[in-house]
């Protein structure tokens, strides 16, 4: 794992072990916890316009930063439990997306791949 992600991974392993919490950290449970944090992220934006979401007050931005952190934290735990290299998987996925959405074909048009007429 990358140095900074690995640093976080080590802190999180220690955190879970000190508290005897690894027993709760099945991938199934970690996926649920991650989704729970996603819900908290959404709640910050649900009544805002897109414009307002781009110009958050400092205090709100700080709260959102902590929700993003919560999500990254569970992503790292899940990757550790499943033996997944998050960075490598992300590079692969971007390559897949580059092929699935060729720039010339999807200029300024954000439908799903299956919704484009060939």
């Amino acid at each position: 794992m990358a140095d900074s992600l690995d640093h976080l991974n080590q802190r999180l392993l220690r955190f879970a072990r000190e508290r005897d919490w690894e027993q709760f950290h099945s991938p199934k449970n970690l996926a649920m916890a991650l989704a729970g944090e996603c819900g908290e992220l959404l709640e910050h934006f649900q009544w805002l316009t897109e414009e307002q979401s781009s110009t958050l007050a400092p205090e709100k931005r700080r709260a959102v930063a902590h929700e993003l952190a919560d999500i990254l934290i569970y992503l790292i735990r899940l990757s550790e439990r499943l033996g997944v290299d998050l960075i490598a998987a992300s590079d692969e996925k971007i390559a897949i997306n580059e092929a699935r959405y060729p720039a010339h074909k999807v200029q300024g048009d954000a439908r799903r791949a299956s919704e484009y007429d060939d």
Copy 2:
């Protein structure tokens, strides 16, 4: 941003710009997209037992790795748009959790902070 996250961030900026997709990438929209990917992650685990979720077949594990990548991808885009340092925010959040859940108090007990009797 850390080198590997910064590498992904640069690829993602280029990806969005080549396709004139930045117009869709308000933080509000990115948060929705991230949550959409969380839903896809959950679907892989919803009927599995915790045990089964820890022993995925290679093909399933690969699919899950791509869902984790999708989530990281949106996390990085969101952080870029909001000017959030994901790693720093995560270090802060772990410190907050260490204080909120002192090891001696929560051994083997995974309730929410507010559910512990003092």
Copy 3:
């Protein structure tokens, strides 16, 4: 349960039993499945403006209707497993919200209850 919800509940019980699927329908799993469907709902809206979301093409509206149905289906199964009266709980929750957000105090202002200055 209300007549129409009860009708759906009976169809869903029969559906699960005919397939020997009740074994997978712990409340934990059903909650995950419900959240998975929420993710699918979000994906229909993530790149749309609020305006576009109010004026869906018929085919898109039909797809969204089926996502809403999927969510209701899991809500009904969860209520059945937990012995919850969905309608009564909803009436209670609306009453709680009416008290928590008095009309005179929150006119045209959609922050969370805790964010209002007293």
Copy 4:
């Protein structure tokens, strides 16, 4: 809409109008709010075993009932805004599922439709 759902729908319309909140209730925003509530539902179950999720203490069950209510509330608002008949859509979806997962083929086996060998 069915009598009880229609009753809730009327209460919710009145609730939103009294507070001048309809302006925030685009389908996009309502979908986000619904997903936010799903996240709260998941948080109740994330560290529980499937067994524990089936035997909730009364106070926890009551809290979960209110989360289910929150989700139904947003489902009803969304249906109202989109002109969707929730009950009819659910009956349709169950019929689609009955065809997609024939009982003889999927006995005791809960993979997704696309994962079954023909």
